[in-house]
């Protein structure tokens, strides 16, 4: 059994391929997470304009992407856009799809955070002469982020895991490389190794999250 699923020789042979996949996964995450955070922040700032004409379309936008499986979005870009004469390549498609999808999720989280800051905070800031934007930047956002930090981290965990979808459009990230190695060696060890790498990489974050979440829920009694 161990010979089949955790074969040392195959690990040695597949290691360079798997390692390059890991590096690409990290790279992809480093691009996609800030992109999503940025998109989400923009959405939330727009939604903080308490005008229903702005707020409702934004809500619809967010709900649209909450309902839309990210893989479908990715395939739509990857396989659909070429028909419109636009060939973007897997990496760019992943970046755009995630910008849209995770941006919506981050946006929803930021919005909840901003809503959780009492209106009196802005009024206090404005009363000392801060502009709207200054009040938002110096007073509301720092509190908002602190209030929803567990949700932000939890979504970031999901985004990193989601980068594995890149394998479907031939982006050479960890899962893709592991499957390449598997088909070269006729052995599942590379996929097992990839799974272990994902686990070791994300476990600390999961531990931290489960402590934060427990505390958050207990505080809501």
């Amino acid at each position: 059994m161990i010979q089949t699923f955790f074969n040392i020789e195959i690990i040695a042979a597949a290691w360079p391929i798997v390692l390059s996949g890991l590096l690409n996964t990290i790279l992809l995450s480093l691009i996609v997470v800030p992109l999503g955070l940025f998109g989400g922040l923009i959405l939330a700032l727009l939604a903080s304009v308490k005008n229903p004409l702005v707020r409702w379309p934004l809500m619809a936008w967010v709900d649209f992407f909450r309902a839309f499986p990210p893989l479908v979005l990715l395939i739509l870009l990857f396989a659909g856009l070429p028909f419109a004469g636009l060939e973007l390549g897997g990496f760019a498609c992943v970046a755009i799809a995630f910008f849209l999808n995770t941006g919506a999720y981050y946006g929803e989280i930021f919005r909840a955070g901003i809503d959780s800051v009492p209106a009196g905070q802005v009024e206090a800031g404005r009363s000392t002469g801060l502009s709207r934007l200054q009040a938002m930047g110096y007073i509301v956002l720092p509190q908002a982020v602190r209030n929803v930090l567990p949700d932000l981290l939890s979504n970031t965990l999901e985004v990193v895991k989601l980068t594995s979808l890149g394998s479907v459009v031939a982006v050479p990230e960890l899962l893709y490389q592991a499957r390449q190695a598997q088909s070269l060696t006729y052995n599942p060890t590379p996929i097992v190794v990839a799974a272990i790498i994902y686990f070791l990489m994300l476990w600390p974050l999961v531990r931290l999250l489960s402590r934060l979440e427990n505390r958050a829920l207990a505080g809501r009694r």
Binding site: R66, L71, V72, A84, P188, R220
Partner: protein, 226 residues
């Protein structure tokens, strides 16, 4: 033909759409079957684990926490691939459907256990004491007093998580499940036209958008006043 007409003819081609509509519909049936199976088994297993955890048997709890952490850390697609392409080496060959179902059910089990557990522990100790002092047993207290309060607290995070995980049924296409995305993709390569993909996208919206909207309403309804 104007650009617009060409666009419509490419992406919303009526003939192609009509031809592949039955495929997309049968894909929807598979997606719904998968989704229902995942939700039922995932939530039931998650609740069961949380209840076992409340018995506070040390080694058992460590095991539960490890399993939960494992399935929270691994990307669902990795689990699916591991099951579908890995298990056959051990002479077990689950179908794509079963691989997708079990993988996502495990993931939902892990996430929901964590949420159920947080709900149970957030019920005040005094509730346990009051109930036990009137003679209710541990199990009776759990079911009649603690769970109703815990579940209420867990509804918003639970619905959001359940939707996010259930959307993962689209991942089944990687292991040849003929759900919506799978049907749409093969229709695209057969017809050299992206219209089926647009139909597939619409099908997902038809299925999941009402759930998302409902979840938003639940969230407001069950939000606890601070």
């Amino acid at each position: 033909m104007s650009t617009w007409d060409r666009f419509v003819d490419t992406f919303f081609n009526g003939k192609v759409m009509l031809k592949y509509l039955p495929d997309i519909l049968s894909g929807m049936v598979v997606t719904i079957e998968l989704a229902v199976l995942i939700v039922l088994s995932g939530l039931a297993a998650g609740l069961a684990l949380a209840l076992v955890r409340s018995l506070a048997i040390r080694p058992l709890n460590w095991l539960i926490i490890f399993i939960v952490d494992l399935f929270r850390s691994l990307p669902p697609l990795v689990i699916i691939v591991l099951m579908y392409f890995g298990l056959p080496y051990a002479e077990i060959s689950p179908s794509g459907f079963v691989s997708t179902w079990l993988s996502l059910a495990f993931v939902l089990m892990a996430f929901s256990e964590e949420i159920f557990w947080a709900g149970i522990t957030s019920v005040h100790k005094g509730q346990w004491e009051a109930s036990r002092s009137t003679g209710l047993s541990f199990g009776q207290t759990l079911i009649n007093v603690v769970l109703p309060q815990a579940l209420r607290l867990t509804i918003p995070p639970l619905t959001n998580r359940t939707i996010a995980i259930t959307k993962g049924t689209a991942l089944g296409t990687v292991v040849a499940v003929t759900e919506i995305l799978g049907e749409a993709s093969s229709a695209v390569s057969n017809s050299y036209n992206p219209s089926p993909l647009m139909m597939g996208a619409a099908a997902y919206l038809v299925l999941f958008l009402p759930v998302v909207v409902l979840a938003r309403r639940l969230e407001t309804k069950f939000a606890w006043k601070r």
